[in-house]
Amino acid sequence: MSDNRLTLALLRLAPLLLFVVIVVAFGLLNERFLSFGNFRNIVIQAAPIAILAIGMTFVLLIAEIDLSVGAVMYVGASLVAIYLEPATGFGFTDPNLWWPLSLAVFVATGMIVGAVHGLVVTSLGIASFIATLASLFMLRGLAMFLSNTRTLQFSREIKDINRWEIFQIVPMADRAYGVPVAILILLIVFFSGWLVLRHTAFGRQIHAVGEDREAAKKAGLAVKGIVFACFVICGFCAGVGGFVAATQQGAVGPNFGLQVEFQVIAAAVLGGVSLFGGRGSVWGPVFGAILIRTTIAGLTFVNADPYIYPLVTAAIIFLAVAVDGLRTRMIERMSRRMIRPLEAG
């Protein structure tokens, strides 16, 4: 019995233990891995995935899924790179307006796509897996058509965002570090997500819908509206994450956002979000994204063959899902009722 509890606690902490193991292992292989600068980079690089995964959590919580988030990033990037060039600039000549405009284009793209998903799922009753799989291909096709599959260059004003920092107060040997824009945006999304999910009526109703949609209907909740809103929120986050990724990369090719949906869903599951709805938090996906990013950074540090990367990340994802399944089954088994006191010995 107490053995069971111990195993269960270990399983729950498994992703955290895995994180520690990965950090220690790569640290032993290369001690520069443990530097402040490296961790800062890891978190910055994890930010886009983490932002997308927070949005994905809203959709997973209601037992739906959105496979189109990576494609949304690519469409947003195409629109921004093609129409927000210095030459055209949507007619806006002031370069200071370009970054807010491009953020707006990204976010609007995501929210429109999310709204379409929400409508298709709620009014046509099409499974979100199919609906968003279809838009994954349609949106990638659209973006390739818009960009002619050329590399997309962002204007300098947009790329520069990536170097901004606020609160430059952490003094290190080389310079004073602050909070980079990517992390600031992540923090804002994280905090808003947490507030909405935990402390608003809407957020608690999301959990109710995810637990039992029929019961939610009977309780008089506006289920369709809640489902619709979750897809829009997911699209919103996909747009924000796409913007952050675009500023970080500066120029992107036709594989921008490709298969990102898998990393995003994996980050959420690693963070304890259930694929069956009703269970999950917003800090989990952030942790999951950092875990995935740390692994990739470690592999880069030890000069691993790039073809090994997908193998290792896939192994981690597999482990996370396996652990989750094991945990669920153990919880079920332990909830087996005890009828009589246990005899000694």
Partner: protein
């Protein structure tokens, strides 16, 4: 009492589905501070009635008034705001949310300034409501941790919080322990004291007699009798419901049990669940297993069938020794198991009768290359439909979900009969089904044992055990406390044996 004005008055209620009339002008009144027992067989129109009152269905004709004013609910939400609370058999709660969140999920109070939940207001109101239903739990407890009875109290608290004038209970006691039932009845008495009226639907007629001041009996969508409880006896209610007298409810069995044991359970033990359980069941014998809910009776059945593991002992079916059975081995050895939860475990609701019937014996209907022989499927499932007295023989066209509870149960039984089991474990085979369907289940059991099979029957109803069993074993906290032959059946002694540990009896 007669001069009191009815709280809810229903008159001439009529409803048809697809041209079939299911309600023919039903009248009844619910008075403040009283419970109206609505009884009748499955399909008699009780659910249609309360669904109309609860705003789920619209009546074709008839009038309803609430507190003297005309009442025409357009939706469940409309009914709720008019003061009708509907406590469904399947409770409407969310396991992943806390008690307080469940109480107010559709109207969580907002903070004065911010668009956030006013946690303090929620807490205060939840604490007060929990006190009213005598539930001593912190309001932040996740509902997933509550027992079925505690969850029901949460639903009642919710009804109170919505200022319900009339509370509809649909089979509230089926999944409660006796203790929880008593507590529920205390709370119902308190609701009455506050002037709330109730409609109480149940197949447990004892409960109806205990709780309700008035009784209305429905049969085939019409009121056959209604009035104060004192005008009714159990026998009269049942004969009104069924349309015949009930002395023949347990059919006579012609063939006595044989000597050869079909099942032997030897020293079965599992820490915390079962202690040293030994018994056997002979060919043609019905052995009843009596015990309170949570006594380990279902767990014992699950272990015998290989669904749960046990640490010591063995199970012998015929000449096969199963030291560590899996359900597959148990089925191969000739066992069949009707679980408590037919919706969850026994039936595929969207599948036809035929598809459900052949499920446990698919191999018999397979041709080369695994193709099903449909003609054989149809003829054999029609035969089975006849054997279990199913209400329809349209086995291909009818889906399981469109049948009444009694008929669904018959399909599950028929499914297992297809394999001609040597030992049939029946866990609460008649729970939630009406008297007529019950009797048909009893006949099926009799036919089965007369053909030489053995039956292990688990039931919460002592009468049912006494009426059907050749022998009754009693279980208390995972330990067998007695074995009684038919001649020694006595209600009092059996009740004693299921509520007391064996040593207390000796001492």
């Amino acid at each position: 009492m007669s001069e009191a004005r009815p709280l809810l008055s229903v008159s001439g209620l009529a409803k048809s589905f697809f041209g079939v009339r299911v309600l023919h002008g039903v009248d009844f009144d619910v008075f403040p501070g009283e419970a109206l027992g609505l009884v009748g067989e499955n399909g008699s129109g009780k659910s249609t009635c309360v669904n109309i009152i609860g705003g789920v269905l619209k009546p074709d004709a008839g009038e309803m008034s609430l507190n003297g004013a005309p009442y025409h609910p357009l939706s469940p939400k409309g009914a709720a705001s008019a003061g009708i609370a509907f406590i469904h058999q399947e409770l409407n709660l969310f396991g992943n949310l806390s008690i307080e969140e469940n109480l107010f999920i559709e109207r969580l109070p907002k903070h004065r300034m911010l668009p956030l939940i006013d946690r303090r207001a929620v807490r205060a109101r939840a604490v007060q409501l929990l006190r009213e239903v005598e539930l001593d739990l912190p309001p932040t407890t996740p509902v997933a941790r509550l027992s079925q009875g505690e969850r029901q109290l949460i639903e009642i608290a919710k009804a109170i919080s919505m200022n319900a004038k009339v509370v509809i209970f649909d089979e509230p006691t089926t999944s409660l322990t006796r203790h929880e039932v008593d507590r529920l009845f205390t709370i119902i008495a308190r609701l009455k004291a506050r002037g709330i009226g109730m409609i109480y639907i149940s197949h447990a007629l004892d409960d109806v007699m205990a709780v309700c001041e008035r009784i209305t009996v429905l049969r085939d969508g019409a009121v056959l009798g209604g009035g104060p409880r004192d005008e009714f006896s159990l026998a009269r209610i049942i004969s009104l419901m069924v349309g015949r007298a009930i002395d023949t409810i347990y059919p006579e069995r012609m063939v006595p049990p044989r000597a050869d044991p079909v099942l032997r359970v030897e020293g079965l033990a599992q820490p915390g669940v079962a202690k040293d359980i030994t018994f056997d069941i002979k060919e043609g014998e019905v052995v009843g297993l009596g015990g309170l809910m949570g006594s380990g009776r279902s767990e014992l059945a699950r272990m015998i069938f290989g669904l749960d593991a046990f640490s010591r002992g063995r199970i012998i079916v015929g000449d096969k020794v199963l030291a560590n059975p899996t359900p597959r081995e148990a089925i191969d050895a000739g066992m069949a198991f009707l679980t408590e939860d037919r919706r969850g475990e026994g039936l595929l609701m969207d599948f036809s009768i035929a598809e459900n019937t052949i499920l446990a014996a698919l191999g018999r209907f397979a041709r080369a290359a695994g193709m099903l022989e449909w003609r054989k499927v149809v003829t054999e499932s029609k035969t089975m439909a006849g054997r279990v007295h199913l209400s329809t023989d349209r086995v291909v066209e009818t889906r399981a979900k469109h049948l009444s509870g009694g008929n669904q149960q018959k399909i599950v039984i028929g499914k297992w009969l297809m394999r001609m089991p040597k030992l049939f474990i029946l866990d609460e085979p008649t729970r939630g089904i009406d008297v007529g369907a019950k009797q048909e289940v009893y006949r099926i059991i009799n036919a089965l044992v007369e053909a030489g099979s053995a039956v292990l029957l688990i039931s919460s109803e002592i009468e049912e055990l006494m009426g059907l069993s050749d022998r009754i074993l009693t279980i208390y906290r995972g330990e067998l406390t007695g074995s009684f032959a038919r001649a020694a059946f006595d209600r009092e002694i059996l009740m004693g044996a299921v509520t007391r540990p064996p040593r207390a009896e000796a001492g």
